[in-house]
Symmetry: D2
Subunit: 401 residues, 4 copies
């Protein structure tokens, strides 16, 4: 199994799955348990309360589904919509593309709003579509908060404003897979109806838990939504919530204890501090990219993502060669360019439980790989630029002052 | 998190999730990895080959889906059937009931064949229904190999024979959740079209991987099946299999390494030895129940399950009190009676990576609990009966001879 | 490494090293840390305070030495005595023999008081020797609290009384390796001058930490003791205690965190409850031995050990064959007979973090092995006898009531 | 326990204990086992064979002692020497000082050869002392291969040459604590009589195993050496080696399996590749120090250590402030200056299972800390210098080519 062994640690900078903190690995290092004993419901009850905090909601109802982000998407859609329902969805990169593909294959009538990859969702078109939809045929606005393929963060507050401006009753469904716990996200304030994330992203757990949170309005919609579903059906969860046993089918005991540990770390650091740290690490990364003379795939600063940076390489370089070489020579895992930007960008994931020195090690590795593939780089330039920013901004570790 | 701490180990004898061997816990004790690096596809390729062995198939195509048994059911149904399709399904206990419920909610036309709980599937009715169905309106025969609620194992070879006798083309879909890797199961020989299990059962892993295996005929059916699905869609898997990257979305790195370790243990012991061990432990359990003067919920020997024994308690005892007390006093986790047999039976799960002394400890605990709740039992009687059987039949541990 | 793999768990009933609770395994599942950072001294400070509680001392000074019980013995002796010093030591089994051997090889003048193996220390002879020693040539009385080879517990309160009766100033050195945290031990009340244990015994940790506790009188003696030592020298520890850095050389980070977890479990259960549990499990074991018609190696009830039971086998059986077979057939680890009782006894260790059902599984295994080797045993008889006792005496698990 | 929690990983660059590879942490994540079962002797036998390879000896006899480096020293001395014996020992830093202190306190007559801290052992004086010692009163030449306090590596081949030049029969005792498995070390070729290391150094294990290897000549000497010892006595080990049970007292089961995993990693990478990697990382570190305009505490290139670099800070900076700040702000653990160089140097440990990007992250951290404490540094300068070297020299990871 370790036939790919290399000395030292793997430097994991793909935008998911991300590094798991040792405290969480420890918490998950355990045997199975009877999930029908009093212990697991008691644990679940607290987890459901606490997980609402990462969505910044007090009115939402969370579901911890044994699935991935793709399943969480499906849960959000099939519980709130019926086949044939019209949705608006923004195609701005590979993951928004996949969600749109899912919406279409699940039988919804998707009104796709395209942008160039590297740009954010075109919210002006959203406004005009909503304005035109006086009959309220649009049942849901579906948007990826952070497009992981291009490193683009959409402005959710503005989406809400537009919905409000037109007093449009459409549901507001948000893919927060690569944003929640890392970017500023405010479910209640922004009137998000379903928000979702996956355990292997900013929560820094293994893959396997799709976390979906539904507003009262979404729950209401779920009562009449006609999409076929059983595994993803919220009704089954709600029935077991009421019974106090919480689980319609077997959860992963390990992920429950892992989630407990992950939330503990986030609350200890403070969610807003976690978000600030993501911004700090992302800013450092962007300064390094600039110092290298390379372009961010994200076209405008307003869309810059604090969880992933897609770096555009010069035309004479194949970006996948960078990723391959990083792994083969420096034990560094970077993200590939996907689909339209395949070969053109590589991605640095800087989300999850991570600190400055880890990122600087990664940036140093990227510099060497860039040189390896023939890019004329001054080694140390990007690290220096990021370091200068970090040296000015990194707070003392609160627990060690 | 350990507020339910008790001294010593928890004795886990629910019929799932089951005890995870230390070797598997160790293998899973790890950080995330990039699932797009060459390492994970290489690992996946071997796993897909090896996992076929536990189904006893060479022609099947396996899918390792990040889901539970419920999701695996849904994957089996939605990939092979279209809404409105007629299925035959046998209601013999809580899990067959839940699968039937799923079939109905997914829009299939389910022809339910009921038996009394404690009996096996009524295959005579199957025969007569197939005989009558000269128009081949029945698209699938769905059967739970081992009903976990009542400890009933159905005769799959006979189902195949009946299908053959009537040359009926219906798909043969099998829930092997509490059977595969523990009971004799022969996908190719029995012409099973879709078989499925969950990682937390006889494979002795954490929950989170639904393992589904499709025959060529099932794959063919999947090309035209019209049920909506994306997360569970085999097509996406097949596309990535072909590309050699294997994963349409993020798998659990930990479960992949865990599966590797779990299969290694099974192959080291020998799958047939594993199955023989399950029969030995089950026989011991049944001898104990007999010695206690209690009745097995399973009504005939031909249906006796080698993975779970449902024990009927006298009418003056509430079986859930046994489960509660076992946990509160002896750190012993037993299975509750479900639905129709709630309060009337408790269940001893004896599946997974388990040995004689673990089971005898459990039986000793059951004896004490039975006495606790007022059942006039001779302490040591069941343990003695099981021990006598084990002392005659347990082989030397192969690696230690 | 797992070439000795057998299905299911190993049943570990040697009198050390003993089963490690999962909580402790988890706590130790970690990387190294800088032991000179503020974190490790802070942890150590608390541990030194808390570890005193298991000795029931408020005036003692504990040392957590990276060594085994043998090293802890050496630390006790070389810090308090000078070569040529006269000690009284009791030869009652293999471990007292080894300690005497150590005393002799370290150059002390050992006055050996022998008993038949199976008997406790002859304290009448102690009394007469102390009475005769008006010149106070005896510098230390060295006694093994619990002789692990024969399952004999000595009466320490009586040793103190005798010392007091003769107002003898000899140091009172106690090997508590297989007693502390399991048997009633009262350092301050009994005026013990040095007490010691090893991490892999009742504390239920891995091997590697010798825990030595010195009374003020022992510390005073250490100032003038002339035995050569450096690694074991308390002075180095005391110097670093004063400096607040605590460690004269590198400790095992993992064992420190493990000790923290182990103490947490003991304090949660309550030390006196832990001791009561050891008595309960030992009583059950002795009742089983009686039911089997076998003899306890310990000759009188007053010496019965609550941590290990040495069982005498009939002359036509080689006890090592029992141990070998238990391991080869039932994955059960029992203790061999040592030295004078080799071949004649096997030993059941029932110390550490253990519960009734674990022990009953072990007893069921012993029964089958006894039958395997030709002893005419009624299977279930011992388990029944122990169960009857446990069913009357086992308390509800406090945290689960 | 995690009250000192900081986001992301701790960057551990003290010269011991060092980072434990995940594979080793996994291998150690286990319960205790009976060390008298056939499994542990079988494992030990292989380990003793394999551990000789890291000493590059075929004729040596290794001992795996449950102790630290300090205990390993004591084992080397007390088994080969008698009180009053004359040794030559070189005082060049804190650890050589401590070993000399130990030699004196154990009653040997130590002939101390001092050098300025930052210089290597004065071997000219050794030559003259040996030349003068025609009566062969010098029983042992004791030398620290790598002085961890100052980052000085002594030339052992030259020591052997001098001994040979004067045909001096003195034993050649080597502290290889921070060298073996990281620096070129050749026990047989260099005629070393006792070599020793600790598990927590280049072997990358937890603390707790002192590994001592004795030449035939050392074993011969041990037969007549009169120092008192029991715990450290090789005789007890040799007796159990002969019996095939290997252990005179309880070993750490976890460390044995950990050692197995650690050796597997070293052999997979290739011991000579491991040594080359240490040279590469050390060279990069030294280039960074140079780029920063700082001085290496090691005064000449011939003594440069490939496992630790002691960096001299300008007089207006307190080096302990660098260490404190690195830990408090960047989760970076550096080594303090010790004794004569306290406050004047800080140390970067670059030994064990480590790669380029980990080290570059550390160097980036050191740069920021240097700036924090007022040193006028160009951020990125050292990282750039080291990167330039690594980018030219780092091989592809063998298993990934």
């Amino acid at each position: 199994m370790d036939y790919v062994y290399g000395p030292g640690r793997n430097h994991l900078f793909v935008p998911g799955p991300v590094n798991i903190p040792d405290q969480v690995i420890r918490a998950m290092n355990r045997n199975n348990e009877d999930y029908r004993s009093p212990a697991i419901p008691a644990l679940t009850k607290i987890l459901l309360e606490d997980v609402k905090k990462i969505f910044k909601t007090t009115t939402g109802t969370p579901f911890l589904i044994p699935t991935t982000g793709t399943g969480a998407w499906e849960s959000a859609l099939t519980n709130t919509l019926s086949p044939g329902d019209r949705t608006i969805s923004f195609m701005i990169g590979q993951f928004s593309l996949l969600w749109i593909d899912q919406q279409q294959r699940l039988g919804f009538n998707v009104d796709v709003v395209e942008s160039e990859w590297g740009q954010g969702a075109n919210l002006d078109i959203l406004a005009s579509k909503l304005a035109a939809d006086t009959a309220h045929t649009i049942k849901a606005v579906c948007i990826v908060h952070n497009e992981t393929a291009t490193g683009v963060t959409n402005n959710l507050a503005r989406v809400r404003k537009i919905l409000d401006d037109y007093r449009h009753p459409a549901l507001f469904l948000v893919d927060g897979v690569s944003s929640i716990c890392a970017l500023d996200f405010r479910m209640d304030e922004w009137g998000v109806d379903v928000a979702l994330t996956g355990s292997q992203k900013a929560l820094s757990l293994p893959t396997g838990m799709g976390i979906v949170c539904a507003s009262p309005k979404a729950l209401e919609a779920s009562k009449t939504a006609k999409s076929y579903k059983v595994f993803f059906d919220w009704k089954d969860y709600l029935k077991f919530y009421q019974m106090g046993t919480y689980w319609p089918y077997t959860p992963s005991i390990q992920l429950l204890y892992g989630l407990r540990a992950a939330l503990d770390l986030i609350f200890e650091e403070g969610l807003d501090n976690v978000i600030a740290r993501h911004n700090r690490l992302a800013t450092g990364t962007r300064l390094a990219v600039e110092a290298w003379g390379l372009k961010n795939c994200t076209q405008k600063e307003e869309w810059f993502s604090d969880t992933v940076t897609a770096v555009v390489v010069p035309p004479y370089i194949e970006s996948s060669e960078i990723v391959r070489r990083a792994w083969k020579r420096y034990n560094l895992s970077l993200g590939l360019g996907l689909n339209k930007v395949a070969g053109k960008v590589f991605r640095i994931g800087h989300l999850g439980n991570l600190n400055e020195l880890q990122l600087l090690g990664c940036l140093a590795g990227v510099e060497m790989v860039l040189k390896d593939v023939g890019y004329p780089i001054k080694l140390g330039s990007g690290v220096g630029a990021a370091s200068a920013y970090f040296q000015n901004t990194t707070p003392l570790i609160a627990s060690r002052i």
